[in-house]
């Protein structure tokens, strides 16, 4: 029965990525290579972040929220953004439209994130006899993360790949990108500083990711109008 539970949580965590790939035109244009490359870039970025964290961060004894440490973590989080920039701009992709490029990159990014952060705990924990809600919540978090990655990739592609943007929208684009990029710090502040319980934090994450996704979708659509 517990392998059953593992299977359930696995399809919750990794299913949406596969569904996204299959449902959207990504599968038709065979953008799997792009996604894989984005996943590799994510792994490198994760390694770099790890090294930076190990070098610069002090191990705190208490569980409280230390603003200086969190600021440092947020700064290191921007390494993420740099990695995404690299994936979007520097890697050569096949001739696919920008529309699909950011989706493929975002998808690969989110999939690598899920695998790295959630597969091991799932494998180790969900197969045990004891039942907890943790792994279902983790799957929901993976879903929220997918949406956030896609939004960030969209905003990133708007910022770096599109040359002609309406002047008024640029600050909005940059603020949205900033919010999405600092989302991990915001979440850890909520969890540790304000002491929110895990379901509440994940609910908040889902809500904001949907909000950010809709905003970035709107922005993308607006920016797409002049060129089309």
């Amino acid at each position: 029965m517990t392998v059953f539970h593992f299977f359930n949580c696995a399809i919750l965590t990794f299913g949406p990525h596969a569904v996204y790939y299959a449902a959207t035109p990504l599968s038709e244009y065979d953008t799997l290579g792009t996604s894989i490359k984005a996943a590799i870039v994510y792994l490198v970025t994760a390694l770099v972040k790890l090294v930076c964290l190990a070098t610069f961060l002090k191990v705190s004894e208490s569980d409280s929220f230390d603003p200086y440490q969190e600021l440092l973590k947020a700064l290191i989080g921007f390494v993420d953004v740099a990695g995404l920039y690299f994936a979007l701009t520097q890697l050569t992709h096949r001739n696919i439209s920008q529309n699909h490029k950011f989706q493929a990159v975002g998808l690969g990014w989110a999939f690598a994130d899920s695998v790295l952060h959630r597969l091991a705990p799932l494998w180790v924990g969900a197969r045990g006899l004891e039942f907890t809600w943790d792994y279902i919540l983790q799957g929901l978090e993976a879903n929220a993360n997918l949406i956030l990655s896609l939004s960030l990739a969209a905003l990133g592609s708007l910022m770096w790949l599109r040359k002609n943007k309406p002047k008024t929208l640029i600050p909005i684009i940059y603020t949205c990108a900033g919010i999405v990029a600092t989302m991990p710090s915001i979440l850890s502040y909520l969890r540790q500083g304000l002491g929110w319980q895990l379901p509440k934090v994940i609910g908040f994450e889902l809500f904001t990711s949907l909000a950010m996704a809709s905003i970035s979708w709107q922005l993308f659509a607006i920016c797409q109008r002049p060129s089309s």
């Binding site: 244009y29 091991a120 907890t132």
Partner: protein, 583 residues
Amino acid sequence: MGSSSSERKSAAILEPTMYTASMMAVVVLILLAACADLCDGVTVVDVYRLVQYDLSGVPFGSRFASLNHHAASSLFSPGTAAASGGDSAAAADLSRTVLILPLRGLNLTLIREYIGQRKILGGLLFLLPSIFNPENVDNTGGTDDVPAEGVSKDILVELERLLIHANVPFPVYFAFEHDDINAVLADVERTDVAGQPATATTGGYKFVVAAREPRKIGSPTLTNIQGWLPGLKADGDSNQLPTIAIVASYDTFGAAPALSVGSDSNGSGVVALLEIARLFSILYSNPGTRGRYNLLFGLTSGGPYNYNGTYKWLHSFDQRLRESIDYAICLNSIGSSGDKLWVHVSKPPENEYIKKIFEGISSVAEELGLNVGLKHKKINISNPRVAWEHEQFSRLRVTAATLSELSLAPELLESTGGLSDNRHVVNEASVVRSVKLVAESLARHIYNHEGKNINVFADDSNLAVNPSYIRSWLDLLSRTPRVAPFLSKSDPLIVALKKELTDHTVEVNVQHEVLDGLFTFYDSTSGKLHIYQVASVTFDLLLLLVLGSYLIILFSFLVITTRGLDDLISIFRRPPSRKVKTA
């Protein structure tokens, strides 16, 4: 172009190493961070198994050790009309269920019936009040709990007797009440009352004890420890000095061998023997006060098994030594006597020697304010049952008597230090008084003080009985389970007893014997119970349904928004074989 292909190649080469390195590093970090969350959720409780033994090939006790079933809390599922109807219905339900039964409010007749009819259960877990826990010795006799404790004690004694003499075809464990397991029990009771006994499809708690098949203990050893204090031989006297033996058996037997500490039976006897040895070693260390009797102290094993160890010990004696024994005093359960003690003998009370010994003891008893009675029990050579230790001496025609607070001869495997016999039932004052009684009467016999009003072991003298010595040994013995087959030859307790006797006596011998083939014991006396809260299969199926529909909805949503509704419909109209589409 060239740079990008070389870039790609180098990326491909570096990929596996980077992947594994970063994977491992991040995984370690994540696991460390998540450690706090992953570690809780499983309750682990120490449990102690019911003894498993064969007596002349007939199996007794619990025959299984490993446990892996759902938990329930009552023998009958609610809603069954008559008890007999409920029996047959409930029996089918409970063969894969573990019952948790707290000792308070235990219905013994129901259990007796159940075990008597040899019904199969998944397992039984008895929850004992924490006052019976040998490791819980902080309060000596809680005053507010005394009446309840008395009732619990009677139920526990009954339960123990029932379980020891029954052949139980499922695992039986004992555990002590604790917050964790009380919470689990409350939860289980609540769901039982609501009418849903826990099974694979309804969730609940699962009890798991991982234990391997219990194995026979081959050649269980009985270790007898003897100490010898030689008396003063007058110059030119070639005859053997007479010997007085003081004997106590130190091992126990109970329903849970890992909990059988036997404070009263026979920890009190052992402690008394050690104190008497200490006192006489002071007297005998000075040749001026050394008596004309040798003193032989014997700590024997195998007490519950018809005093098998004593038998072997006596048969190992030199003939001359055995003939030189004037008489032997055996000590058995003298720790909670109140004011009444009994001297049990096998020779008829009219025998001159018995009269003399008894008068000696009762005169001292009178001075101490104790009441001592004489009980005579004939021994039957053809009956293998040996109820008192002195009977082993009497079978070899050595005069012996047992001093005990028990007035009736115990049955086989009774009063041998069970679950209820722990530190709280024994009090030092009784042991001190008994020590004074035995030591004083021995001294009067040895030094010929009969009739004279001399108090050798007076309080405030350097020969006073030392209560703290008695207390510390009682505490130690009350923390040490001492079932003989589970005591190895070099067990720390045996080493400690040997060292203690070496301190007090001149010559110490340790004798190892094998327990007679009549009794066979099996190992696996304790374990750890893991309590898991499990979700039912229906929950998993429901979750699968929900997730499946979520993914389907997500799929449809994405198809509609990115490719249009027509595409969605076309997927379902035509078989999905058109996948490759040139870009």
